[in-house]
């Protein structure tokens, strides 16, 4: 029975890994704003997670565990390249992207640029909460910092975004009324 149970758990965990790629990629992308790097980090994360699946006792705790591996892989990447750049000083902004060539996407660009301009710690905290809906306790576990630090980083990040974005938005055009359709 135990063997069966173990088999079932491993299969569940593998499925969890497979289904988590898009979420991991989203967060990794929001951290570095570089599609190729985000993909590499996610790939490395999944490989590490796959190798250490046996350490995961409770599949329900898997998401926080997986994102903490992502954090480690991400930090490792920049640690390896420390001589080249200091992450906290880097403004992660893409100068030319397909998006920037499309005027409709200016707002997305603005938000992403504002997020990219946040210090690393704040960017990680706000994206985990806003994009993935992790609780503050989970974010503290993932990033390996106290919950008070999560709260203060999040607070500073939102304040910075508010100052940067909401001022710009006052210049936006008026809204148009939409057309309603009723299903018979």
């Amino acid at each position: 029975m135990n063997v069966l149970n173990l088999f079932y758990r491993t299969r569940e965990s593998r499925r969890m890994l497979e289904n988590s790629r898009a979420r991991l990629y989203r967060v990794a992308y929001s951290w570095c704003h570089n599609a190729a790097l985000a993909d590499d980090v996610v790939q490395e994360t999944l490989m590490k997670a796959y190798r250490s699946l046996s350490q995961l006792r409770d599949p329900k705790a898997g998401q926080a565990w997986l994102f903490s591996i992502l954090t480690n892989c991400y930090n490792d990447h920049f640690r390896r390249n420390r001589e080249a750049e200091n992450v906290d000083d880097t403004v992660l902004v893409e100068e030319t992207t397909p998006e920037s060539q499309t005027s409709q996407l200016q707002i997305i660009d603005r938000v992403r640029k504002a997020v990219g301009a946040l210090p690393e710690g704040q960017r990680q905290a706000i994206t985990l909460v806003d994009l993935e809906g992790f609780s503050y306790i989970e974010v503290a576990q993932i990033l390996g910092i106290p919950i008070g630090t999560v709260m203060s980083r999040l607070c500073r990040a939102r304040n910075a975004l508010r100052e940067k974005l909401l001022e710009e938005f006052k210049k936006q055009p008026e809204l148009r009324e939409a057309v309603l359709r009723r299903v018979k």
Binding site: D39, L105, C155, A178, R182, V183
Partner: protein, 251 residues
């Protein structure tokens, strides 16, 4: 005036992120219902939260990212709809900042509360002669959340019917929430039908973008329950309704 010194920025953020206990939420709710500035602050924080989430809905794929499963590979940026959502989202913020009428009603807008009880308390703050307009928002596919949404909607409708006051209520669904209004997946079609008959002032609304996304990503064609109203974009509709002074409750 109640002492509001306990409301730090961290506390307001935790309120927006639904990280407070029920008791703490009650306290914050009571404080923002009395203080327009606090209320504005909560609305701004929530807008920032929504914007950050929307900005990363569609991402560029990595070069040669064929290995990516789960719909990322080959996914193009769904620019038009998303950009429209964002513009409308911004419009809300501007409208909210500029329009004093909306701001006064905003004490309810700011509330995200799991029980209809507090909503009713908040509704009492409003001018009794006006038609109260309440927008519920469901974006989860969980049947438990759907039931909670229907319970809340029914509580509010019952309350206003009992008090003999006018109210308009909309339940707007997007994302996974559209399951509630799909014939194939709705856990409570009978109850919805009954509520529609009983309350002519209630509308069930769903989002065309979510329907399109379902078809594109999963190849599923959604068939909706009779009487369901389809709107171009759920997010845009929420923004419009908020501009029109509707109270907004996220389930």
């Amino acid at each position: 005036m109640k002492d509001q010194s306990f409301l730090s920025d961290e506390m307001l953020n935790a309120f927006v992120d639904n990280q407070l206990s029920t008791e703490e939420k009650e306290q914050v709710f009571a404080a923002i219902a009395q203080d327009a500035q606090l209320n504005q602050r909560v609305c701004e924080l929530r807008s920032i939260h929504d914007l950050a989430r929307l900005a990363y809905l569609d991402l560029p794929s990595a070069p040669g990212q064929d290995r990516v499963a789960g719909g990322l590979a080959g996914k193009r940026v769904r620019n038009a709809g998303l950009a429209a959502c964002l513009v409308l989202c911004l419009g809300l913020v501007i409208g909210w900042l500029i329009n004093p009428e909306v701001r006064s009603i905003g004490s309810i807008m700011a509330a995200q509360h799991p029980t209809g009880h507090t909503l009713i308390q908040a509704a009492n703050l409003q001018n009794k002669s006006k038609v109260t307009k309440v927008l519920f928002h469901l974006n989860s596919g969980s049947p438990a959340m759907a039931r909670e949404a229907l319970d809340e909607v029914e509580n509010v409708l019952k309350y206003y019917a009992h008090e003999g006051r006018k109210a308009r209520v909309e339940l707007i669904t997007n994302g996974g929430g559209i399951n509630l209004l799909r014939k194939e997946t709705s856990p409570y079609p009978g109850r919805i039908r009954k509520m529609q008959k009983e309350y002519p002032n209630l509308k069930f609304v769903t989002c065309q973008n979510s329907i399109d996304r379902l078809k594109r990503d999963h190849g599923v064609v959604a068939h909706l329950l009779p009487g369901t109203v389809v709107i171009d974009s759920g997010v845009a509709q929420i923004m419009r309704r908020q501009q029109e002074g509707w109270a907004y409750i996220e389930v």
